[in-house]
């Protein structure tokens, strides 16, 4: 079987493209970094690929709202091609700023048409950028198969998930909540800082579309794929050594 092709977007202040592409490559994809302007010039590339990733970063410096300006640029220049891409049996993932872009494009939760946002990632309740490790309880059969609670870093200033009650109900009914902030046992953070680092409604850290193929998440899983990246690396190393 040939490797699935993955487009890892970059440009305009996206800054996690290298580690994200590396992780997708390690996981078995043929991952390539594409500058948005090159993609706009070569729209057919979308047809040849099966995975699209919006990496983390600071597209347009979060000016006018995080992810907003990049989403506008995609709507202005790639709207049809991107919608055609999503019609196929493909995967789309957005991490951190990429999640913010996806919500502004309306891809997640995707319960309305392309370009219509239904949820928001507002300023963190402290209105401050937070970089810290959190526990995440996962729920998505495509991306997180057989996974339950993991530890990952978050690093963002605008990750405070918000949706109105109707949308929240939809998310629950359709099983679209793919990750919540929790404690190490997997119990919900209940809004408690720092377990929930940003004040997200119902501790929501990640949502997907109804099919589970399009997913956005605030934490950065691509920053925890090596043993040495773990925040308890030296402790685990010592523990391993003592257990022989």
């Amino acid at each position: 079987m040939s490797k699935p092709g993955a487009i890892v977007l970059t440009g305009y202040g996206i800054n996690c493209e290298e580690e994200t592409a590396h992780v997708f490559a390690v996981a078995g994809a043929d991952a390539k970094i594409w500058h948005l302007n090159d993609l706009i010039e070569n729209k057919n590339v979308l047809k040849d690929n099966q995975i699209f990733i919006f990496p983390g970063g600071f597209s347009y410096g979060d000016d006018t709202g995080s992810g907003k300006a990049l989403a506008n640029k995609i709507i202005n220049n790639l709207s049809d091609e991107f919608q055609n891409f999503m019609q196929r049996d493909v995967l789309v993932m957005g991490i951190c700023n990429g999640f913010q872009v996806m919500t502004n494009l309306g891809i997640v939760p995707g319960n309305e048409s392309f370009g219509h946002s239904q949820v928001a990632l507002d300023y963190n309740f402290k209105n401050r950028y937070e970089c810290r490790w959190v526990h995440l309880k996962l729920n998505n059969k495509i991306y997180f198969k057989d996974m339950d609670v993991i530890k990952v870093p978050v690093a963002h200033g605008e990750g405070n998930f918000y949706a109105d009650e109707k949308t929240l109900l939809q998310l629950k009914d359709n099983d679209q909540i793919s990750g919540i902030y929790c404690n190490e046992k997997g119990e919900p953070a209940n809004g408690e800082f720092p377990l929930n680092p940003n004040g997200a409604l119902q501790d929501i850290a990640s949502i997907s579309d109804k099919t589970g193929r399009f997913i956005g998440l605030m934490p950065h899983p691509e920053r925890n794929f090596l043993f040495s990246q773990r925040d308890d690396y030296t402790y685990q190393k010592e523990k391993l050594q003592r257990s022989g």
Partner: protein, 990 residues
């Protein structure tokens, strides 16, 4: 001028920004019941109704916001509203993004500087007094870069909102260059050097900062060699090139008859000797000559490092000063060799107590108040937050230090580590050369009046319609686009021959500097893209506008380079060419306005001759009553210089790029460590250790041992984390004061002697350095009494080291109960200048000083450190913390809090050369000590491996911290929870 449209955007759900501002105001004692924040866009372009609505929708998040166009906030009761906007010419990053959105959506091609302007409005409910209103606005805006309008509810409604006035730059400098008559007597030359060129309106432009000797050399050059009067452009350029900032005149000066100067005698000589002694194990690549210094990482890569200071700009505009500092030093890496990729940032803030509320003023009339320590602290922290986070560069390593003498001028240290392949396009990446015939290309941001005469800024120079000149705000996204395009694309496509950044002196310095490689240059000023019209020629040439790189590009490659940059959303322009004429030539619209001998420009500066005085006196140990340990240990943990600053660590992304190994906060307890480790390549287990050492409190007591301690600490911290001493290098940053006085020079000379001795002993070369020699302030207190505040002479030694396998790295946290605690090294009664004496001085209300500052036994330490590395290599150490400020007590408690484990230690077991007292054992800052914990199973192997003096002082326990004296009596006992509160309470509301 009025904009055609005003779009206002309001939150439709509870306003988090408003709430956090409300909390911030509450902390300073102002209670408002509600704050609503609105973002406003003033748009000066023609649109149809549909278009402007479409645009407003594109700027709004409909889930949580709503917008209005050319209207104002109705149906909302508030008491007063404040609107904050920028002054003319101040970088408005959000406006640039909106301009991009407009261009992309409507294909409008208008220069972005005059199309969009942003403001923010705060609607406040809850009556406050006029004084409180002033304090609120004082906390919201900086008059040097921003404007404010304050309206009551009634005023707002009758005016129909805040209106659409936009801060368009409107300047008309006299386009002609002027000729400066140098036929002057000495007095007049001094005046010209000190206060600058006389404009036709009889005002002076601001200092050239040239002394009489320099002025005389310039005078005779034009009289005898050029046989003409200089133009203002030439004089301003010479002043930039010869400035203290660029030429390091103090470090280059003849000192006490030694023509080699301080730099040559101590810093460079140390590196030269070390490199020679190391022979083929020399780790240095390109030191002292480029924008940063590099050392060997592995067979394919070089790791580079540079630490800058941005003190004066940060005193004026803490946010702007600090953000331009960090993105500026990022550019030093982009300009190192053929362009290194920035892979980590460092920071260090030297500040005054944020609780210090006593105002100080620049003028006797109290008209010009300095920003409060709290504002400075908040601003400098936020600057590195925005600059570092938005650039996608991790910021793992940093420190804060407090001293009352950092009140007028804070010290802001910012550094960046870079990664550069050794070979680029088949050639050495650190050899670069602009060739005659190459185009001079400038890329990145545009040129405005930013940063002109920045160092000599005075607030009176600011008035309506004139852009803020000295103060700059960084634009990290413009720089990020440029950085990616250069370092990740253009460099490896072989599109340029040489590259450097634009920092101090702008183009005048970067072009002239690169022209050393080719032998000359010609530039046509009209080709340089400007932010707004009306700049004088000399301003274009010396402007320090940010986010620009200068490149030397062969003509046949220029088109390719410019097209690539354009595709990445970055402007690039050919502005001239490099030559081998020996001359630097600048034309403006065809007219020659600058034509100088390059050799004179670079080497004509006369060497200063300085004399130092040594008046350091030794004093006796102070006498005092030892406070109860149950209180003093908790008090020490909560001191500004000891306590947790996790609120800073957590707002800087230390995980981006996926490289982090040892993090700024360590263990389950998240305790600030003094070293961090990154792993730059996913495919290699090699790591880079970063740390630093600094003891400004010792400087005036014993400058030699101050510097020795700083170096020992920087090296020791790195070793404790896993550094390979053979692959460790240092960076020196001197922030001195009043540096032409004999006494200060005496302190400097002694410090530099230690810099030489210690570096040579440890074999750790200096690879880069920077100095800022005049951190002095003269002003007035609240009662209009004159005051002067100089920073304590401050030397920051940063360390960078390679570790061959990150698996040997160790963090500070105790790992397991029953592990044995060892203190490596010897403890002496060296408390002069210690944090403990500062504590006692504050507690007892008198100065506690005297006795010895820690001395460094480098021979013994070197052997010990090598054996610590060996023990780490064998994985015999379960935690390691270098003993620093606050001594043993602080180190052992930090390891305990980090591991969430207790301990019991016996002071009687602590090795000391003469009998010293318990509080001295606990708080002495004796150098050369590392506190480690060891698995009991490894006891023998560990003790056999350690080569040097050490003592086994206790064990790790499950709960509680217990310290016993030599008679086995409990001196101190506390729960970890209580210690944790002491350690974290100081900044818990920050």
């Amino acid at each position: 001028m009025e904009a055609k449209y005003r779009i206002e955007i309001y939150p439709t759900i509870p306003d988090n920004r408003g709430k956090s501002l409300k909390n911030r105001l509450e902390k300073i004692g102002i209670l408002v019941s509600e704050i609503i924040t609105a973002d406003n866009y003033l748009i000066n372009a023609d649109f149809t109704n549909d278009e402007i609505n479409k645009l407003a929708f594109m700027l709004t998040n409909p889930v949580i916001q709503k917008y209005s166009i050319n209207s104002y906030l109705k149906n909302h009761k508030f008491d007063f509203a404040v609107e904050i906007g920028f002054l003319p010419g101040v970088t408005d990053n959000v406006a640039h993004t909106v301009s991009d959105v407009i261009s992309d959506t409507f294909k409008v091609n208008k220069k972005k500087e005059d199309m969009v302007f942003t403001t923010r409005t705060f609607f406040m409910t809850g009556i406050v007094t006029d004084d409180e209103k002033r304090e609120i606005t004082g906390n919201l805006f900086n008059p040097l870069i921003q404007r404010e309008v304050l309206l009551s509810f009634a005023e707002y409604n009758s005016a129909g909102g805040f209106g659409r006035t936009i801060p368009v730059v409107n300047i008309h400098e006299d386009g002609d260059v002027s000729r400066v008559d140098l036929n002057l007597n000495d007095k007049e030359l001094v005046e010209l050097g000190r206060h600058g060129i006389l404009d036709p309106d009889n005002t002076r432009r601001g200092p050239l900062a040239l002394d009489l000797d320099s002025m005389k050399v310039i005078q005779s050059y034009f009289k005898d060699v050029e046989k003409r009067k200089p133009t203002d452009v030439e004089l301003e350029s010479i002043a930039q090139t010869w400035s203290e900032h660029c030429k390091h005149t103090i470090f280059a000066a003849e000192l006490d008859g030694n023509a080699e100067g301080i730099f040559g005698t101590y810093i460079k000589a140390a590196t030269d000797r070390i490199n020679k002694e190391k022979g083929n194990k020399n780790i240095c690549h390109s030191v002292f000559k480029d924008n940063a210094g590099g050392i060997e990482f592995d067979e394919n890569y070089i790791i580079s490092d540079k630490v800058e200071t941005h003190n004066s700009p940060s005193a004026l505009d803490p946010f702007g000063g600090s953000i331009t500092g960090i993105v500026g030093v990022n550019r030093d890496e982009m300009g190192f060799g053929m362009g290194a990729k920035p892979i980590a940032n460092r920071y260090g803030f030297c500040l005054a107590d944020p609780e210090d509320k006593n105002p100080i003023y620049r003028s006797k009339e109290k008209s010009s108040q300095l920003l409060s320590p709290a504002r400075i602290m908040e601003g400098v922290i936020h600057g590195v937050n925005v600059g570092g986070n938005q650039s996608g560069i991790p910021t793992p390593q940093g420190f804060i230090r407090f001293h009352e003498r950092f009140k007028a001028k804070p010290l802001v240290f910012v550094g960046t580590i870079g990664l550069l392949p050794k070979i680029v396009n088949g050639k050495s990446s650190v050899k670069k050369s602009a060739l005659p015939g190459d185009f001079v290309v400038v890329t990145g941001g545009r040129v405005g009046r930013d940063g002109i005469h920045g160092a000599t800024f005075s607030s009176e120079a600011l008035s309506g319609g004139s852009p803020a000149t000295a103060v700059q705000i960084g634009d990290p996204i413009t720089q990020k686009k440029m950085s990616d395009a250069i370092v990740k694309e253009a460099r490896d496509m072989d599109l340029y021959n040489s590259i450097t950044d634009n920092g101090a002196g702008g183009l005048s310095c970067s072009v002239a500097e690169m022209a050393k490689e080719s032998g000359g240059f010609e530039v046509d000023l009209e080709k340089i893209p400007l932010k707004y019209p009306g700049l004088a020629s000399w301003q274009i040439w010396v402007s320090e506008s940010q986010e620009r790189m200068t490149l030397s590009i062969p003509p046949e490659k220029a088109e390719h380079f410019i097209a690539l940059m354009k595709k990445r959303g970055v402007e690039a322009t050919v502005i001239g060419k490099f030559t081998d004429s020996g001359r630097g030539i600048v034309r403006h619209n065809g007219k020659e306005i600058f034509n100088l001998d390059l050799d004179f420009l670079h080497n004509g500066l006369p060497q200063k001759k300085l004399k130092s005085v040594n008046n350091i006196v030794k004093t006796e140990k102070p006498v005092y009553d030892v406070p109860d340990f149950s209180k003093s240990i908790h008090d020490m943990m909560s001191r500004l210089n000891i306590s947790s600053f996790s609120f800073i660590s957590n707002q800087y992304d230390f995980e981006v790029q996926g490289s982090s190994v040892l993090k700024p906060l360590q263990g389950k307890g998240n305790v600030n460590s003094n070293a961090s480790v990154i792993r730059p390549l996913f495919t290699s287990k090699k790591g880079v250790v970063l740390s630093q050492g600094m003891y400004p409190e010792y400087s005036e007591l014993d400058p030699y041992n101050m510097a020795a301690s700083s170096i020992d600490t920087a090296v020791r911290n790195a070793v404790a984390a896993g550094a390979n001493l053979d692959k460790t290098a240092l960076l020196d940053n001197f922030c001195w004061c009043d540096s032409t006085s004999g006494e200060r020079l005496g302190q400097l000379k002694q410090a530099c002697e230690a810099c030489y001795d210690l570096a040579v002993k440890y074999g750790t070369p200096y690879v880069s350095g920077k100095d800022s020699m005049f951190n002095d302030f003269k002003g007035f207190d609240e009662n209009s009494n004159p005051i002067s505040i100089s920073v304590p002479p401050t030397l920051l030694i940063s360390s960078i080291a390679v570790v061959d396998d990150v698996d040997i790295c160790q963090s500070i946290d105790f790992k397991f109960e029953n592990d044995i605690i060892y203190l490596l090294g010897v403890t002496s009664d060296e408390l002069n200048g210690s944090e403990y004496y500062s504590y006692l001085s504050e507690k007892l209300g008198r100065v506690i000083s005297g006795g010895e500052v820690p001395a460094v036994n480098a021979d013994e330490n070197l052997i010990l450190y090598r054996s610590v590395s060996a023990a780490l290599q064998k994985k015999l150490i379960a935690s390691a913390i270098s003993v620093e400020r606050g001594g043993l007590a602080v180190a052992v408690i930090k390891s305990a809090l980090a591991g969430k484990l207790g301990f019991e230690i016996d002071l009687g077991a602590v090795l000391n050369e003469k009998k010293i007292l318990n509080d001295e054992l606990l708080f002495s800052e004796s150098q050369g000590r590392i506190l480690v914990s060891v698995n009991p199973a490894n006891k023998d192997a560990f003790e056999k491996t350690i080569n040097g003096k050490f003592s086994m002082i206790g064990v790790v326990k499950a709960n509680d911290a217990v310290i016993k004296n030599s008679s086995n009596e409990k001196l101190f006992s506390s729960s970890l929870e209580k210690l944790s509160i002491s350690y974290t309470e100081r900044f818990k509301n920050y």
